[in-house]
């Protein structure tokens, strides 16, 4: 186990460096640079341009820049945003919470709801519930997330006036304490709801198919033959075996969510890292971009590792 974790850490690190190098190269090969944003659209003053390039070291050769960046990054310093002139660590730190809140809530809720629906559908395969759930999951799975989000806004905010349109808190009222928490929860309903609708089908499908599969396993027949009642067989044996694929999917979809949430953050003006990336891309804010990629790769690597370990706990056949 220790060795396994060690190995995973090592490959994780390698992954991160490679991800990093790829991004660094792609970003730097790309046309445009942050100087344009800093100079503003209205001027092309070459003196200003040269001065700014020098100031941010963008006039140095690429490999030098990469090594310099890596060096500082290894000390835990992700550098300073060129555009916002703030430590990247601070910027990410402020927004990470919001994204994690959104992503984790959605992931956990969809895990439970989707799995539950999948189990229900599997236990009554071919019934109305199964057909209805499957149909719904197909449709939801096929919707572009941003589109769904916008529709939810129009329906629940504009037409029904039930929920706030955007943001994480009510800008007008500066709530504190319990009220603040409630406020955030109310604001979370739509974005989390959108993510839920997108994610539930994934868990639904995997839960349904693995329950069906485990139900057909030979050992289930053994338990039936012993006269054990179906409820117990299901709750203890089918469930535990069928939950395994879900764990893997949870990891993958969490990783997907971490990056895929950007569109939702834009639609709902949610102050998270996803949006930070998008702005950083358009502004070519290299340090911020690299910083977020780093944080994202690390969190995906960590999530995957945790998932693997959890999996090993649930499945004694896995040995490291």
């Amino acid at each position: 186990m220790k060795r396994y974790i060690g190995k995973r850490l090592l490959t994780g690190l390698l992954t991160i460096i490679i991800v990093f190098a790829i991004n660094f190269i792609i970003i730097r090969l790309a046309p445009g640079d942050p100087i344009k944003t800093l100079m503003g659209k209205e001027t092309d003053d070459p003196v200003l341009k040269a001065a700014l390039e020098h100031k941010y070291g963008l006039d140095k050769p690429l490999p030098t820049q990469f090594v310099m960046y890596l060096k500082t990054a290894l000390t835990g310093d992700l550098g300073t945003s060129i555009i916002y002139n703030r430590p990247v660590t601070d910027m990410i730190g402020e927004k990470l919470g919001a994204t994690i809140l959104l992503v984790l809530t959605a992931a956990i809720l969809s895990l439970f709801i989707g799995t539950l629906m999948g189990i229900m559908a599997a236990r009554r395969e071919g019934s109305f519930i199964d057909v209805a759930f499957s149909g719904i999951s197909y449709v939801l799975n096929s919707m572009p997330s941003f589109w769904l989000g916008l529709m939810l806004i129009i329906v629940f905010s504009s037409r029904l006036n039930l929920l706030p349109t955007y943001g994480m808190t009510n800008a007008r009222a500066n709530y504190t304490g319990m009220k603040y928490i409630l406020d955030v929860i109310v604001h979370m309903i739509l974005p989390v709801g959108t993510l839920l609708l997108i994610e539930i089908p994934i868990y639904f499908r995997i839960a349904k198919s693995s329950v069906l599969q485990v139900t057909n396993e030979d050992f289930i027949v053994t338990f039936r033959a012993t006269g054990m009642n179906e409820k117990k067989i299901f709750n203890k044996y089918i469930f535990r075996n069928a939950i395994l694929p879900t764990i893997t999917i949870f990891g993958i979809s969490l990783a997907y969510l971490i990056t895929g949430v950007a569109l939702i953050e834009i639609v709902f003006a949610w102050p998270g890292t996803g949006r930070l990336v998008l702005t950083a891309i358009t502004q070519r804010d290299y340090p911020t971009l690299m910083g977020i990629y780093l944080v994202m790769s690390v969190s995906i690597a960590v999530v995957m590792m945790i998932v693997d370990i959890v999996y090993a706990v649930f499945d004694p056949r896995i040995r490291y």
Binding site: A30, P31, G32, D33, K36, T37, L38, M39, G40, K41, E42, T43, D44, D45, P46, V47, L48, A51, L52, K55, I83, Y84, N85, M91, E94, K95, A98, L150, I153, I154, S157, S158, N161, L162, P164, T165, Y166, G167, M168, T169, N170, A171, R172, A173, I266, V267, F268, A269, P271, G272, R275, L276, L278, T279, T282, Q283, R284
Partner: protein
């Protein structure tokens, strides 16, 4: 029905303005930042400012005069201005601000301040700019980006502005005080009760960040925000029909235009340029893409600045047959596919309706026998290709050409950085120089109109539509920035208040 979220405590007047993104910095002079521009206009003052019609009006300087030779400009400051911490705003602050900018090449106005030899402060409320060249348009530039007056007593501590703590926690002399910045969420300002024009009426001014237009429109409709500058043309009809919302047109001297790269052989023939200009249906573009909000622009200098704009000699009007005739006369022959000219490219960047406009242009040019391929780029990539490498035949851009027609020299003067067309005409340069050297508006208009006539003849560019957009706001608010022509700044909320009812 009022949505739940809008039911703030009745006695508090909170105005929420939609912002697109985070400000890069709260130091208003280091960078030209569209996102912080409306915010800092409410925290700081300049010597002069622009109102919503983009005309110069007084700010800290209550009046100013230009010397005979045009080289000295003297500003007389109002004496009641105070910093948010209670100190008085004096000429020292002004000298400090501009001296520092000039000394730092990376600050936006630094190069422009190259024409200023020295700044003198005969007394606490008088500032004299001594320049090495007569240029009246300098005054207008002082009302633009990067010219906000900063408090010397807070900044002058040996640290650069970028790293200066005073930049993070801005203390200005404007109507609002900085209160809170939540990155990615909002910027909150509170009124400066001691403001020299009187305390603002609002209890809170919040700039709330909503990146997506569609969401912002919904938020406006739902009352989650109160003001939305420049709503998408597509939403105008709908918002007009909404009784809670008031729309007001906000126009900018920043026309959409097609620039020809005169260095490129492909478009060096003025007849071809004329034919292209004649084959662009500006009316159609205006209607289809901007719902008529952005009007067709024929004048070479934005018609919004009426006194300087030449409406007599303009770029050609749409006429396919005429375009064909121009080509025929110039000796162009049709090829097998019916094209006189092929292989042209038009580089546009994504957004603002530009790609769509380009597509319409492509279609009408094709009717006139001119084959042009539209290439759409992400803004930065476009900027690199077109702005830095100057690698294009035709490109489409916008950009501010106000408030003073001196901008013409910046955009088309020989050797100027922003002269994408690489236009060069000694006559044009001379006219611009004359225009900049005099303070007499009538004379200046004459020079610049002549310069525009030259541009019509040479056609280094074709203006297409004006830039304008509706400001939408909750109709229960009065005295919004848009209402302040001649009275207050273009993003200033000093007098904004709930309508009494």
């Amino acid at each position: 029905s009022e949505p739940a979220s809008a039911q703030a405590p009745a006695e508090e007047k909170v105005l929420i303005v939609r912002a697109i993104g985070d400000p890069m910095s709260f130091n208003p002079d280091t960078l030209p930042d569209d996102n912080n521009y409306p915010i800092v206009q409410n925290i700081f003052n300049r010597l002069v400012k622009l109102d919503t019609s983009k005309q110069i009006i007084p700010d800290l300087a209550s009046k100013w005069e230009v010397s005979e030779d045009g080289k000295d400009i003297t500003f007389y400051l109002r004496e009641d201005a105070k910093w948010h911490d209670g100190n008085k705003v004096t000429s020292k602050d002004i000298k400090y601000t501009f001296d520092t900018i000039k000394a730092n090449e990376t600050y936006y106005m630094s190069t422009r301040l190259g024409i200023v030899d020295s700044i003198e402060t005969p007394d606490d409320y008088t500032v004299v700019f001594k320049m090495n060249k007569a240029d009246v348009s300098f005054i207008a530039d002082l009302g633009w980006y990067g010219t906000f007056i900063l408090p010397e007593h807070l900044f002058n501590n040996g640290q650069k502005w970028e790293d200066n703590p005073a930049s993070k926690n801005p203390v200005g002399s404007g109507p609002f005080k900085f209160s809170e910045f939540k990155q990615g969420e909002s910027i909150t300002l509170v009124p400066n009760k001691d403001y020299h024009e009187g305390s603002p009426k609002l209890d809170k001014l919040i700039f709330s960040i909503i990146p997506d237009d569609a969401t912002a429109v919904q938020a406006l409709i739902n009352g989650d925000i109160d003001m939305f500058e420049n709503v998408p043309a597509g939403n105008v009809e709908e918002l007009k029909a909404d009784g809670n919302i008031r729309l007001a047109l906000n126009e900018y001297p920043s026309p959409m235009r097609i620039i020809f790269n005169l260095k490129d052989k492909a478009v060096q023939d003025v007849n071809l340029r004329k034919a292209i200009a004649t084959a662009i249906n500006k009316e159609e573009i205006s209607q289809k893409i901007y719902a008529g909000v952005q009007k067709p622009e024929y004048n070479m200098y934005p018609s919004l600045i009426k006194w300087a704009s030449n409406s007599e000699e303009t770029s050609p009007h749409f006429n396919i047959e005429e375009a064909k005739k121009i080509l025929e006369d110039a000796g162009y022959k049709k090829d097998a596919n019916g094209f006189y000219v092929t292989g042209l490219t038009l580089d546009v960047f994504e957004g603002s309706g530009y790609p769509e406009a380009a597509k319409l242009i492509e279609a009408t040019l094709a009717q006139a026998g001119i084959d042009i391929e539209v290439q759409v780029h992400e803004y930065n990539a476009w900027s690199e290709k077109v702005g830095t490498r100057r690698d294009f035949m035709l490109e489409m851009q916008g950009g501010f050409m106000g408030p003073d027609p001196a901008a013409l020299a910046k955009r088309f003067g020989t050797g100027q950085a922003s002269n994408y067309a690489d236009y060069s005409s000694a006559e044009f340069d001379a006219l611009c120089e004359q225009g900049a050297a005099t303070g007499d508006q009538a004379k200046r208009a004459e020079y610049y109109k002549k310069a525009q006539a030259l541009l019509v003849k040479d056609l280094p560019y074709v203006p297409i539509v004006t830039f304008a957009g509706y400001d939408a706001n909750r109709s229960d608010y009065i005295n919004l920035p848009i209402d302040g022509t001649g009275k207050w700044g273009w993003a200033e909320f000093t007098y904004t208040d709930l309508a009494a009812n």
